[in-house]
Amino acid sequence: MNILPTNNNAADTLLKIASWISGLFILLFFGYLLFDITINGISRIDLGFFHNTPVNAGRQGGIFPMLISTLWILALCLCIALPIGLATAIYLAEYTNEKQTLTRFIRRSLNIIAGVPSIVMGLFGYAFFVIALQLGFSILSGALTLAFMVLPLLIRSIEDSLRAIPQSYRLNAHALGLSQWRIIFQILLPIASQGILLAVILSIGRAMAETAALLYTSGYVMRTPDSMMDSGRSLSVHIFDLSMNVPGGEQSAYASALVLIVLLLMINIFTAFISQIIVNKSIR
């Protein structure tokens, strides 16, 4: 949050009004969305909802297996995507400049991947991970496919954050004789931590929201997965099935959506906390 002078000229007032209108519009619309989901779903939720397995195609019972599957897929996806994404972003930001063909090529590729429809990703994930690599319908297949989808967002956001750091930091560090390794991990990354955190949160959001791709890779099975080679449906797939495929599943769909939202909130807070710890440690 920047502190800017508050002299109100006409242009400033206009901008202020436009901004407030946009902000309130968003707040109102989305507030209504969340409110609607809560009202419709809350009655279905009790303690058992989190513990129990679904009964009657999910119209009764709980969503425990879906919670486990979702968290597992998410965790696995991040474990795969974060190192690759971080590395690519660092490489792009620190070792290449805008004019090189390699940068442009990588950037173009990433932008194209970002435009692949989720259902096509799902089909690709099916053909490649499930069939060709013989991983079968599994948490792992789902996580790998999701990692693909999340990479562009991750890489671009982290790269932007790194590039936003003024050159002076790097020059000063070199002048002090620090190795590249140290510069990146002990100076640049901590400074960019806010942006990296955002990138991670965006990726988590994308991963939790993804439905079509997971339907064909981690699958439809309602059982709690025992290992990451087991199939297990994510919360988003469950919501999809309940609202569009199972007659009478609407209320359970709302309830599951509510749980997903709360889960997302908790994960985001958790991630922010963890990143704070990591940053503090590396600065030491």
Binding site: F64, Y220, S231, G248, F273
Partner: protein, 284 residues
Amino acid sequence: MFRTGLITTTIILLSLFVSACEQTANSPSTATLPSDQLTGELSITGSSTIAPLAAELAQRLESKNPQLRVNVQTGGSSRGLADIRQGISDIGMVSRKLNDNEHDVQAHLLAQDGVSIIVHKSNPVTELTTEQIKSVYLGKISNWQSLTGRDKKITVIHKAEGRSTLEVFLDFFKFKNTQIKPDIIIGDNEQGIKLVSRNPNAIAYVSIGTAEYNMKAGTSIKTLPLNGVEATTEKLASGQFPLSRELNFITKGKPSLLTQAYIDFSKTDEAANIIKDFGFVPVK
């Protein structure tokens, strides 16, 4: 607020983790396994219409045979057929009759699914003749005026190509798909129901079971009789209702022990109740 959020999150995640451990610990030991229990893994893929039902049957069978794993995946009837032919799955789910060139696989009839015309509850029309329905879908009658006196444009809802509900519909009324002039094209039955229940001028055709389920739950739709016969699952079961499609399990070659067990289970009385629960008509 941040700290409280974090502590709550950690506690909740921890409790989920503990429950997960409990769940796996609760599986019975093999030492006390009766000798006629089924063990192994069964893979069932195909139609998304049959999938929730198949998953429910699977769950039921699994609860009787704790060492059994039945994995149900969706992907559509054509995936079901393709997977069986390639030997990737044990049972395929196909929501239509087999074609002439598909007799390399065997069909096991699971249930019948009726197809009924639906309109909004407030629509004064009580019955439409075959000729009238044809005219509506061909675009010859485009206003409710001549049918009910209300001067409103008819919103014609039609299904996407390839669906067996569409095939059966075209077959019965003797159309070609290219002749129909729809206003909206839908994929799943539920989509059709959601649209009709909010549009007093819409007309669509969906699965009877889905329609009945929704009507019982209070959704604002009603079915129209066809050729004088009411569109209910009872009339379908008694053979009086003329418009229906088959829901089949398909296998290739000699079914394995597990496959046969599952298919046998789907013909029991217990399974028949489950089938009825989903709005389909079990095979006698």
